[in-house]
Symmetry: C2
Subunit: 819 residues, 2 copies
């Protein structure tokens, strides 16, 4: 057999290079389909779409994704009028089969489906006018059943040898065209004109004054195929992950991270810089670019003012769609998170109130007289080392092991969530109804974006990967101290089902009509605070080799950027090209010793009048954050986000110091008041910086002990002298290490208002010992999170929440008062 493979591979390699061969289709015995053979076919010549697919995936049906689209094209091309014809699809299953049927039905065909080996196949073959065979296998019995005169279309060329079939040339032509359609498409983007007013109106007024392009138009402009998007209303669409497979050979664009210096409590405008930058790149410099943003929590939208869609003339539109339900991802996370929470308490109750036998009988009931384990239960048995498949053969001890999770209620770390600022749920007692038989316990609700499922959504790379991560989430320990996972509770599949649409990024647009992905928005303290890996990956393919993807990390660079590099880039394998570090004169004055800045209170005069001394004094923070980025080997461009009270001398001073401190460049930006036109210089600087050679590296090796990794971050990033673990923290570190979670990256939960753990210490604090009060873990998301002080995971509503200003006009359906 081996020599055969060698001969075939050599022949394929020869045909690969033959300019007269436009496409290659394989017709081999099943035993010859080795990965060696499959990988030999050059992608450009690959008619069956078999190259770069490993055999396991081929057998599991992935090949259909390649085979069906040309089949549909072929049917439509070969038959002028499908109206009223009965088209039988053999073996076209799943979503792709459905798509194929849908395409044919739109042409007026009556479609009938049949599985490959189904008993009805013979009858159905007889009744069909057209037969489409979706399989890579040849089946002579099937061939013999087809009545003479039937049109047969096969997506696998080796079936075409029989004389009743369409000629090869047709097929090759169709397939060629299809291969074309699979390739990268140049953008043909029409930007929206912007005519900024002065004074700058409110965010919602600006958003409403601009008319977004229909999202299907935008999608087409940036090279998405019709079947790669799912439209949600006029201005939002989800993008399917299949695009990553289609464009897998397309080189990525440049990857830009927007981070910030240590901010004031008012924020320094990273989102507006992100959006201003892509507006400048695409609408003003005609360079493809994509902004990838986080979806905001709805809680604060109705609590304390402040949108997340950017602001002024650098916004995502329509901003009310961005800030409200969007495409339901956070709602899906809430549903999944709370299903798991309900399953934990219900399971404890059922275990506590039933004997082993009763529990087992309920878990493995007889259905129509037959008793069997479900797939998820068999998997659990195997994890327990029990390899039986007949429920009646388990020993009493095995029954007990299987039926009891023995969750220790005091160790439950999985909390319920709501996407509302509901402070009264910060600490609650549950289970107080009589029906719960006294099994009360203390619990809490977090804001939905603090759910580990949100952190997973942001880090996952595929549906399969997400499912695995969901299953691995640890929710508690059992009474022996072993971790209990979502998989142990049997809920992995249900969680994946609830999250199946949320995994697709949502496409929107900026005020100037350039594309934006909104996807995931994990908490920036107990989680990593970065938008999704999948959105970045898809965007990097779509912008093309010379394009730019700009994403944002929450909080200051010491937190968001550090997590972006050490956690998000590790999960994605992507290498960033440039860091844009956002600074404001306001924040620098604060670091230079200016008075306190508080949300809601008017700014002191130090911030509204020129004061070069305060600015100069505060630039140490900027310098330190530049140095942090340089630890990772990535060039830094400083963006000075201009406020109208900043003097030219102040701005010049910041730029000068930034360049002296090692920034590749430093430029002022006016995107808030001027749109992309106000960030052109920044865009040019970023483009220039992206041409630099980078030598990206992580800050620490995963193999180091947990404590060592924490120390490296504390010393090298925060500038701490050392760290100090509380006994509780130390014992958690020991437990996680013993449970085998020691080689995960670290996600520090620290205040963002200082490089240190003390919010009031501005500038660049030194000589401090960073106290680690506790250490927790998000095993599904894949990180350990040490707590530096207490972290609130549930915001509250103030005395006058901003919903006092929000209203809906029932006639025009316009939203009022939203920022």
């Amino acid at each position: 057999l081996y020599s055969f493979v060698v001969i075939i591979v050599n022949e394929i390699l020869r045909l690969n290079e033959d300019p007269n061969v436009q496409g290659l289709a394989l017709d081999l015995q099943e035993s010859l389909y080795s990965s060696k053979v499959l990988n030999a076919v050059k992608p450009e010549k690959d008619v069956d779409g078999l190259s770069s697919i490993n055999l396991g995936r081929l057998i599991h049906g992935d090949a259909y994704n390649y085979l069906v689209p040309p089949a549909a094209c072929a049917v439509m091309e070969l038959l002028e009028d499908l109206g009223g014809k009965t088209v039988l699809l053999v073996g076209a299953s799943g979503a792709v089969g459905a798509a194929l049927q849908c395409m044919l039905q739109r042409e007026g065909a009556v479609t009938v489906s049949c599985q490959w080996k189904a008993p009805q196949l013979q009858t159905k073959l007889h009744d069909a006018d057209v037969v489409v065979v979706c399989s890579t296998k040849r089946d002579d019995v099937l061939l013999s059943w087809i009545k003479p005169g039937t049109t047969v279309i096969s997506c696998s060329l080796h079936l075409l040898s029989g004389k009743r079939f369409f000629e090869l040339s047709n097929m090759v032509k169709t397939t060629e065209r299809w291969i074309q359609s699979q390739q990268y498409r140049k953008w043909d983007l029409r930007c929206l004109k912007l005519q900024p007013l002065s004074p700058v109106p409110s965010d919602i007024e600006i958003s409403r004054a601009q008319s977004p392009k229909a999202v299907d138009v935008l999608a087409k402009e940036i090279g998405l195929l019709t079947d790669e998007i799912e439209i949600y209303g006029q201005t939002k669409a989800k993008v399917r992950l299949s695009l990553l497979e289609r464009l897998k050979d397309q080189p990525d664009g440049k990857y830009v991270l927007v981070a910030g210096i240590t901010p004031t409590p008012l924020g320094e405008g990273k989102s507006t810089v992100t959006i201003g930058l892509v507006q400048a790149l695409t609408a003003h410099l005609s360079i493809n670019s994509f902004a990838c943003l986080r979806q905001p929590s709805q809680g604060p939208t109705f609590g304390v003012k402040g949108g997340a869609a950017g602001g002024g003339y650098a916004q995502v539109i329509p901003m009310e769609e961005f800030n409200l339900h969007l495409t339901g991802d956070i709602h899906a996370i809430t549903a999944a998170n709370n299903l798991l929470a309900a399953a934990i308490d219900a399971r404890i109750l059922h275990e506590n109130t039933q004997s082993d036998k009763a529990l087992y009988n309920r878990l493995v009931p007889a259905v129509n007289g037959v008793r069997g384990f479900s797939a998820i239960q068999l998997a659990r048995l195997r994890r327990l080392g029990i390899y039986k498949t007949d429920p009646d053969t388990l020993t009493e001890e095995e029954v007990r092991k299987f039926a009891r999770l023995d969750i220790d209620p005091s160790t439950i770390t999985w909390q319920r969530v709501v996407d509302t600022n509901d402070r009264f749920l910060r600490k609650i007692t549950v289970g107080q109804a009589n029906t719960e038989k006294g099994f009360i316990r203390q619990a809490q609700f977090d804001i939905a974006v603090a759910s580990e499922i949100m952190a997973i959504l942001a880090l996952t790379t595929s549906l399969q990967d997400m499912k695995e991560r969901l299953g691995k989430m640890v929710v508690a320990n059992d009474k022996k101290g072993e971790p209990v996972t979502a998989e142990d509770l049997g809920v992995t599949g249900a969680l994946a089902v609830l999250m199946k649409d949320a995994i697709k990024p949502t496409l929107m647009q900026t005020l100037e009509g350039t594309p934006v992905f909104v996807h995931a928005g994990p908490f920036a303290n107990i989680a990593h605070g970065n938008s999704s890996v999948l959105a970045d990956k898809i965007a990097l393919k779509l912008v093309g080799e010379k394009g730019f993807v700009v994403t944002e990390a929450g909080f200051g660079a010491d937190i968001g950027m550090e997590k972006f590099f050490n956690i998000k880039c590790r999960a994605s394998g992507l290498v960033p090209s440039v860091v844009v570090l956002v600074a404001t004169v306001r924040a620098l004055k604060m670091h230079g010793g200016g008075p306190n800045v508080t949300a809601g209170a008017p700014l002191k005069k130090e911030y509204t009048e020129e004061n070069l001394q305060l600015v100069a004094g505060g630039c140490c923070n900027l310098q330190k954050q530049i140095q942090i980025a340089q630890l990772f080997g990535v060039p830094v461009v400083v963006a000075v986000n201009i406020f109208k009270t900043d003097s030219a001398a102040e701005v010049d001073l910041v730029c000068k110091i930034a360049k002296q401190s090692g920034a590749f460049d430093a430029v002022p930006c006016n995107h808030w008041s001027a749109g992309g036109g106000g960030a052109v210089k920044l865009a040019q600087a970023v483009e220039e910086a992206a041409r630099q050679k980078t030598s990206f590296k992580y800050l620490y090796s995963l193999e180091l002990p947990i404590v060592e990794k924490i120390r490296i971050i504390a010393q090298k990033v925060y500038g701490a002298q050392d760290i100090e673990l509380s006994p509780a923290a130390q014992s958690q570190v020991d437990r996680y290490t013993q449970q085998g979670f020691g080689n995960l990256p670290i996600c520090m939960a620290k205040t963002h208002l200082s490089l240190s753990h003390q919010p009031e210490r501005k500038g660049v604090p030194t000589g401090f010992i960073l106290p680690i009060s506790d250490v927790r873990a998000s095993i599904g998301a894949g990180f350990i999170y040490p707590l530096v002080g207490t972290m609130s995971t549930m915001p509250g509503l103030p005395t006058r929440p901003c919903f006092y200003d929000i209203d809906l006009d029932p006639i025009t359906e316009e939203v009022k008062g939203l920022f």
Copy 2:
């Protein structure tokens, strides 16, 4: 002035009848636009779209909805190439303005918007190539600003008098075409072929084997305009309420309610009958029909088996989309419900921890040095009888009245919700964190569909009406015993904003490709258990005069149907044509004395073998339910939902007794195993019955005292001898009456498993006294709900929830194990 109006009206009436006049446009002084004048114009002749609009709404901008579409058509028609042209839209605001811009931009135009009186108008007019004026007013100053040579298009004919404007004829032509587009369109529906297998596969297998039509194709087939739908993925779309305005002169179709006899705990298949009936009507008898269904709660989907999309070959597809997030309506309800809950507790905390002055200063802060009340606060002041507008002029007493709601925590009736079966949230204590300063209280979570907001969604008739209902919701009493509403908390606008998309019904399809609305799914015990009024109203317009809308009422006819008539029909003003009463041999045997039927346990042999005596004995329940329907003056068709174990003799017997008991007809149905083809006889019987003259009437007058209304339902519907109120119930009745809520309809919260309050009493119980343990109110939804026994508003998860069987194939993205 009056004589002028008379002359104008007479002239309009004459022109109305002149066959040479194709359209009428008014050009009058503003003072002459009275409703008399507006109403005189015949709709068919109405170019401005002014007929049947009352003046108040015209002034509020509704006229734009009529004026803008012809403007867009005119621009496209009059100008061959819009590419690169700058089109200025004057006064085109809101969603319609956005739509207009979008249409023009797709043609390559650059659009610029400007408000009517904006300072930039003159400059913009100068720069424009084309000016579109969206206004019914003439403005000579504006006219003088337009530079010579500019193309001007006006949607209001009186502007066309100037010579630079396009000729009237063009406009009339365009407008005529537009009027055409506004009219009812005949259906051109392509049904999907069904090839039922035997034995019947699982619901999800059947659903997946059928390929749904693309939802935009379906929408077009049933006469929806492109801008009346918002697509959500391939198979779901929201339908805009504007359709009700467009088709307001179109006669309604026939209105059919599907109700049931008193069911077993397994349910008797009302949903499958509903879907089977529309499949039969439309796919087999070519009669337009629409099914209107409730959206199911996601909680039970993962708890105890049982879908809500119908079953077998009478299903809504794709069933997994139907059963999961759908278009997010329940998530929106959850968000709105919980925002209100959080606002209540936060307000109590803030009032308890601040002086009157501090509270007032926070509620009415100075913004940029200026202090003012928000619109919502001014409204509250007026409700308190304070007519001041300057915050600094309130007396101490007025400040106190304004700033303090003084909610009595023990009277809070507003509960938090989740859409998860989470039994541990049935009774909880909230506020136990230190930050809440000891203001703990006992509370609970209900399942999301039990929220009053869900009941409102189902009963509302417009966005304006919904907003008013949301504002009226009573959440607690203050310390003086007065009701505190959502409006008092200032959250009405925010709730309306959260619900602005949920108010639009979701379009899906049956297995045979006929249309279905899914909208709202209020609890059938503490609420009314009926799908939405808006979905029914829109469907009644879409099916046309000879078409049918089939909707379903939860539980047995004694509950769901009674509430449908007395609550839902009262809210909608719609008059039902036919009641379909679903009966099964199984349930009738139970009423005839058969053994207990329990979910999960195998059926006893009485139910699987022929037993005419039990059937005959149980038909009393069927007879009673028929009589209940007749109380309302509506003809009844009995649908016997056939199971494979039913004998022909049993089915015949049921049909015979049903007809003897006053049913218009009684027919067996096989839709579950055969699709619409199995319900053709039912469809024919329903069509026949709908030709009967009905004399629909409510059961009680709203003016009767609360107790009297309860007694009428108990005696006439349930067959009780009398009712007995607990002291708590009586005091609630007194309170509601005193608070002015005495003339609301009654929504009984009673078990559905018996006509009486005792689930074990089958058949037709008599001689019982119905105990009313408590009485509550949903003021926003608009009903009083007496509790007959305790009602659980939060289901639990069993030992083996059905999520054990649910999984997602990460390659094909197929959902497995969902029913």
